[in-house]
Structure formats: structure tokens, C-alpha cells
Symmetry: C2
Subunit: 122 residues, 2 copies
DNA sequence: GTCGTTGCAAAGCGTTTGCAGCCTA
DNA sequence: TAGGCTGCAAACGCTTTGCAACGAC
């Protein structure tokens, strides 16, 4: 069973208090407000731990380094704003994904990324 | 104006003769059949050149290094096999993407990635 | 006191770049 | 012949790992 340390709660907090998926560097910056000596290696190790424990989910966007968000959200996708570069959650899903699946292939999951302008940038 | 060299045609061929998006390493392996002395640096330099010239398109999948395919194809998406790690083209598109767009947002494009088992691995 | 955890630095890994020699035009 | 092109090796940025000191329990 993992131990409770200042580093880990700081990292956990940084992810849960963000209103959008955050990168390891952003997590480091935010968590260093609580634990100034925190190193990036600890952030990566803790992220792997939290992911294995099912507490966070990696958000992988095409051509982007991974971001992280709290786990347990309903099925959703992401919108990447071309201007401000922020990533937003998008509820729902066009349910016709399997219609385009080639014959002989088995579909297990899917990712959809939307691109354009968010409401702020519009 | 770029010069015509054995290296460049070997790289160009490797991409055009593949029936799926290929990674820089796969391109290197294939092109070395024509030019054994070919180095990975030349592959990367040529890829950038071909992309700028509009002859190839990068295929960016979540959490994956970029792959490349010939440009000019019709709108399509990609299937990533969980076992063999290869990427396949998927024709068509579930046309209801904009139904899930949040209010105030403008949709410019989208990426869909399917995951599962390809016909070979199935 | 144990042993999991941390920070630092070094090592990986894929990609880029500097440089001297090569080759197309 | 000139200047773009290539291969090698070193440099890079991000992520992972080895190791000795630290600290939760």
C-alpha cells in the first residue's frame, strides 16, 4: 500500500483542482507551491502510480504530449482550441463509429478530437 | 529547387508503396533496400521536405510518434491495432460530429482513432 | 528501524543539428 | 566547380532509472 506523502497529495491536488487536462510540467509548477523541492521525476513516478491505481486518466491528443485528468468521468471526448491551445471536455459521442469499421477488424475503443475555436476565442 | 537523389526517391517510394501510414524507422528499413548506407537523419530531413512540398501528410495518433502517408487522399480516419501496433486507413466518417459540439464553439476539423484488433491479429 | 519514497544526475529514446566530405546539376 | 545533400556523431527535449539520503509508519 502506497504511503501518504506531501509530494503525492500536492500532485493529486494539482490534477483534481485543475478544470482541464494538465501536463506533467503544469502539475510540477502547481504542486511546487505546496512542496518547493519537488522534482519532475517524482511527478512522473506519481503519475504512473495514480494511473495504475485508477485515480487519473491520461489524455492523449494527436501530436501532443500527454495531459492528465481525474478518472471516473463519463465517456467523453476533447476539443482542442486552435488559438488558446486549451483542451475542453466534450460530452456525448456520435454513436455510429462501428459503421466505418473494416471487415475482419474488432473495435474495442475510440478517441475523437475536435479542433476549432472555443467560445472564448470565437 | 531540390535535387533528385537516390536517397530521396527511395524514401518517396517507401511511403507511396506502403498501404498504410509508416513510421520514420519503417521508412528507413524499407528504403535501405535501395540505399543501404541511408541514415535516419536523411529520412527525417526528407520527410520534412516532402511535407512542406505537400507530397506527404503526417498521421498523428494519440500517444504515438508520427507516421506518414501520401497526401491527397479523401477524408478518412485511422485504426490502431493493439497487438501488432500497425495503423490502417478507415474510409468514411460518422457524419454526426457537430452534434456534440458545445455551444459557442466553432468546429474546423476532427480526428477519429479506432482501437482494437486488425484482421491479421483477430 | 524498515523499507518505501524522494531528489539529483545520468541514461534512454526519438528527433534535430553541426560539420566535413560527397554528388547532382 | 558550386552548393545542395548525406552520413556520422553530438546535441536536444522529454521521460525513465540508478542510487544514496530521507521520512512515513
Amino acid at each position: 500500500m502506497p504511503r501518504s506523502t506531501r509530494q503525492r497529495s500536492a500532485i493529486h491536488n494539482a490534477i483534481n483542482h485543475a478544470d482541464r487536462p494538465v501536463s506533467p510540467t503544469e502539475i510540477l509548477d502547481a504542486a511546487q507551491a505546496d512542496v518547493p523541492s519537488l522534482g519532475i521525476a517524482t511527478v512522473y513516478r506519481t503519475l504512473k502510480l495514480l494511473e495504475t491505481a485508477g485515480e487519473i486518466t491520461p489524455v492523449e491528443l494527436p501530436g501532443e504530449p500527454p495531459r492528465y485528468e481525474p478518472a471516473g468521468k463519463a465517456h467523453h471526448h476533447h476539443f482542442h482550441c486552435r488559438l488558446c491551445d486549451r483542451v475542453f471536455e466534450v460530452e456525448g459521442c456520435p454513436g455510429a463509429i462501428k459503421d466505418i469499421l473494416p471487415k475482419g477488424f474488432t473495435l474495442e475503443s475510440h478517441d475523437i478530437t475536435l479542433y476549432g475555436l472555443c467560445s472564448d476565442c470565437n
